[in-house]
């Protein structure tokens, strides 16, 4: 198992969370802290960049649901980029793709976010 790595970039009201390593239920602290930092700084749109992600199990998918609910409650928009075909299929399987906008590149996600 690799550790979860969360990096954060800001461009106006858009924040990008760069997710690296493994996403499992143990990643909750890191992922939620990264999201809180992004939104506490005023971001209304958060892009999840999965291009550095190495592994995700069902606990990780559960965290994404929790993150989505948190974003919906806070009135934030959640976008995703950097997903391989395999992880796109997992988001389709779990029907998370109905709630997260998926983009082919970070540039496309930034454009969709209006940044």
């Amino acid at each position: 198992m690799s550790a979860t790595v969360i990096g954060l970039d800001r461009a106006g009201s858009v924040a990008t969370l760069h997710i690296g390593g493994d996403i499992t239920s143990s990643s909750e602290g890191d992922l939620m802290a990264g999201y809180a930092k992004a939104t506490d700084d005023g971001a209304r749109t958060v892009i999840l960049d999965f291009s550095g992600m190495e592994y995700m199990n069902s606990g990780g998918i559960g965290l994404l649901v929790t993150l989505l609910v948190r974003a919906q409650r806070g009135g934030s928009r959640l976008l995703a980029t950097g997903l391989s075909e395999h992880y796109r299929q997992i988001l389709a399987l779990t029907r998370l793709d109905e709630a997260i906008e998926i983009h082919d590149s970070e540039a496309a996600a930034m454009a969709a976010a209006g940044a």
């Binding site: 239920s25 999965f50 291009s51 550095g52 992600m53 190495e54 592994y55 995700m56 199990n57 069902s58 606990g59 998918i61 559960g62 649901v65 929790t66 989505l68 609910v69 919906q72 409650r73 950097g82 391989s84 395999h86 299929q89 997992i90 389709a92 399987l93 779990t94 029907r95 998370l96 109905e98 709630a99």
Partner: protein, 239 residues
């Protein structure tokens, strides 16, 4: 991104579920349905964790999960039946279930689950449309010092307004008791003499998703009620 480390652990997406790989169930109300997770449900979103320390057991987390998969139906309370897929609990397989809507009820709700994820230390089920809960539940085991700890963690929303009402009027309590009994049965089988099941229940989202009210058209609860109420008519037509 490294491809494939978890590829074999996940089911492939399917448009419609098929319970063709299940034997023994009288009713298949799952084939042709889609899966429905916590985002597709109607009611409040709950996270429930049932955790037990397997004190007295020498089994590793991998041995616990292998045994749990193999003997899953035997740990369920007597009020419910789990018809396991012939291929076992593996990614993409569908199982059928008969559940009691109330303690002692002669009526059964027939539904099912899809195995969406399975590895050596965990496996996850997702419910189909029509199930009273739009949910997934993950069963896992891990080492805590010298002891193996097993848990079931559900993320669930009642699927439609009737399911939400039933949940608030006792379904929630019944569901909690069901999983506590299941986990205790499993723990005893694994060698824990006096298992103590710790429960943590958190409401993650208090809002109801009114845009999902149309889930009613899939409701097994309404279909079962209709079927039960029209039973005399069917009986008269046959006689």
């Amino acid at each position: 991104m490294t491809p494939g480390r978890d590829t074999g652990n996940w089911a492939r997406p399917v448009d419609k579920l098929s319970a063709a790989g299940v034997a023994g169930a009288k009713v298949d109300s799952v084939s042709g349905k889609r899966v429905s997770g916590p985002l597709q449900g109607f009611g409040q979103l709950w996270q429930k964790t049932f955790r037990v320390r397997l004190d007295g057991s020498t089994m590793t987390p991998e041995e616990v999960i292998a045994t749990w998969k193999e003997r899953f139906p035997t740990f369920w309370p007597k009020s419910a039946t789990f018809y396991a897929p012939l291929a076992g609990i593996a990614p993409g397989e569908v199982a059928l279930l008969d559940l009691s809507p109330a303690p002692g009820s002669p009526i059964k709700l027939s539904t099912g689950v899809m195995v969406i994820y399975a590895d050596e230390q965990s496996f996850t089920f997702m419910t189909p449309q029509g199930h009273t809960l739009s949910a997934w539940i993950t069963f896992s085991a891990e080492r805590d010092g010298d002891v193996t700890v097993a848990q079931a963690q559900a993320l669930e929303r009642p699927s439609d307004p009737f399911d939400e009402m039933a949940y608030l009027l006792g379904g929630n309590r019944m569901n909690n008791a069901f999983w506590k009994e299941t986990i205790a049965n499993m723990a005893r089988h694994m060698g824990a003499a006096e298992p103590v099941v710790e429960t943590q229940i958190v409401c993650i989202d208090k809002r109801r998703q009114w845009r999902q009210v149309r889930n009613l058209r899939h409701s097994i609860m309404l279909r079962t009620a209709r079927h039960t109420l029209t039973a005399p008519v069917r009986w008269l037509r046959r006689s």
